[in-house]
Amino acid sequence: MITAERKPLEEILALIEPYDRILLVGCNECVTVCAAGGRKEVALLSSALQMARMKEGKTLDTVETTLERQCDPEYVEELVASIDRADAVLSMACGCGVQEVAKRFKEKPVFPAVNTKFMGASERQGVWAERCQGCGDCLLGLTGGICPIARCSKRLLNGPCGGSSNGKCEINPDVDCAWQLIWDRLKALGLESRYEDIAPPKDWRTSRDGGPRRIIREDLAS
């Protein structure tokens, strides 16, 4: 999923400072799962923002709504019903959702209330960790199902570097050395010999380096 974290209240308050009527929009997908921008977080933020304003002797009207999927124009359309009740939109979705809302309602300022972080998985309750960088040319089949691009601090395709110590990365003892994980897994699979295949320089065109990407499915595209 795409993970996110709420921005500091101070920053959000500064963003919406000129506006008295806010449409606060959550999303039912990834940000709900990572507890950053679902219905519950929308309610909490709404309450916190209102109290912050009232404390200063001012008011803030918030309309709370949480869409099924904010990155999908079909659902964003539902905001038509409430958009006129707000001077600005505060989105708790990932950056994709924020942009969809901004695209649909050109006359309204749209602000992000969360920082979109990474594509990750849940390690345990309340803990998420990065797993994929969307390089566009998956090599997990060669690396024992562990991605060195997302999980090695230097994204080495032929690791580990000299800083691997007791299975941990030199940048932080809480970070696993991805290449130690890869090696352990290759061994468990009896594929040690694969380690010595050199991964050639990567073609980063499939990644962000090739410019903004899109996918077109001819059979589905209208």
Partner: protein, 307 residues
């Protein structure tokens, strides 16, 4: 002979080679580069010039290498893949060769987090093994990584680093094998204090015959004090300093610890000379370059061969 590199000639002649290093200054002060390099004249076959070592900004390795080449000495261009993409690195290699630099060292580099710009983007378009491949293809096939032909291809004698002490140990020989497969010509190792472990690693290297495909220069850093030994032991990732080293240094009075450190370095070199597959030494005397000629002499490696 693949190149005009002095280091290659010394190694090919069957002599034990000696290299050392100097870190460029943190400012536009060419005199500093020249001072440090001058201290090494006549004592070494090549001078590594570090590339923003420990991710701290310094004068570029290429510029400092050019200054050293102009003094009639033999710089070794260190290049980390952290700061530049493959376009920038290949163009620097062309520039280096155009200035008479024939030897280089391919590294991934320390993570920016350790340096003075932890907020910088880290590039890592290539890793060290891929950089070796690129430099080799530039030399042997006359091709850029993108596939185009190079006009007057740069002929670099290609080096890389190896750390026999990092984890997992069982991968350390395999990783050297990968560098050999990529086309590396010589290796400079991490500083060696745990000689037993180094010899175990060399055994693994010999078992696979890698010592016959690549020249291995053993890394030596003389300890200046017991404090330095403790710091290296506890604080520097990927460093293996046995207790005996700390104990021996602590056992002599403070003012004599530096001398003891040099004596230990010389003893280590004498022992390592006997290890089959060791082709020379890389002496990293950190901010202590003036001691290098003495160490080389006491290790019985002076005068340097004329090639």
């Amino acid at each position: 002979m693949k190149t005009e590199s002095r280091l290659e000639k010394v190694l090919a002649s069957g002599n034990l080679a000696v290299t050392s290093e100097c870190g460029p200054p943190r400012g536009a002060v060419p005199e500093k580069v020249k001072e440090k390099a001058e201290l090494l004249r006549g004592a070494v076959d090549g001078i590594n010039v570090t590339d923003n070592q420990t991710a701290v900004v310094r004068m570029s390795s290429l510029a400092a290498c050019i200054l050293i080449a102009q003094m009639g000495l033999d710089p070794i261009l260190q290049m980390v893949t952290r700061d530049r993409n493959r376009l920038a690195m290949q163009s620097d290699i062309l520039g280096a060769y155009a200035h008479g630099i024939h030897t280089m060292l391919c590294l991934s580099g320390d993570h920016p987090q350790f340096g003075d710009h932890p907020m910088a983007a880290n590039v890592y378009d290539l890793d060290s093994i891929q950089l070796i491949q690129v430099v080799r293809a530039m030399r042997d096939e006359g091709k850029f990584q993108g596939g185009d032909d190079i006009l007057n291809p740069p002929k670099m004698f290609i080096g890389a680093a190896a750390n026999p002490f990092a984890d997992p140990f069982e991968l350390r020989v395999a990783r050297l094998a990968k560098k050999v497969k990529a086309g590396v010509d010589f290796i400079q190792t991490q500083c060696i204090y745990n000689l037993d472990k180094f010899e175990r690693w060399m055994e693994g290297v010999r078992d696979r015959g890698l010592h016959e495909q690549v020249y291995i220069l053993a890394g030596i850093t003389p300890m200046k004090s017991a404090g330095m030994a403790k710091y290296m032991k506890n604080r520097v990732p990927g460093m293996d300093v046995p207790d005996e080293v700390v104990k021996r240094l602590s056992g002599v009075p403070k003012e004599k610890q530096a001398e003891e450190g040099i004596r230990m370095a010389v003893e280590d070199m004498q022992r390592l000379k006997e290890v089959e597959g060791v082709s020379g030494f890389h002496i990293m005397a950190i901010e202590w370059e003036q001691k290098v000629p003495e160490i080389v002499e006491r290790a019985g490696l002076l005068p340097r061969p004329v090639v």
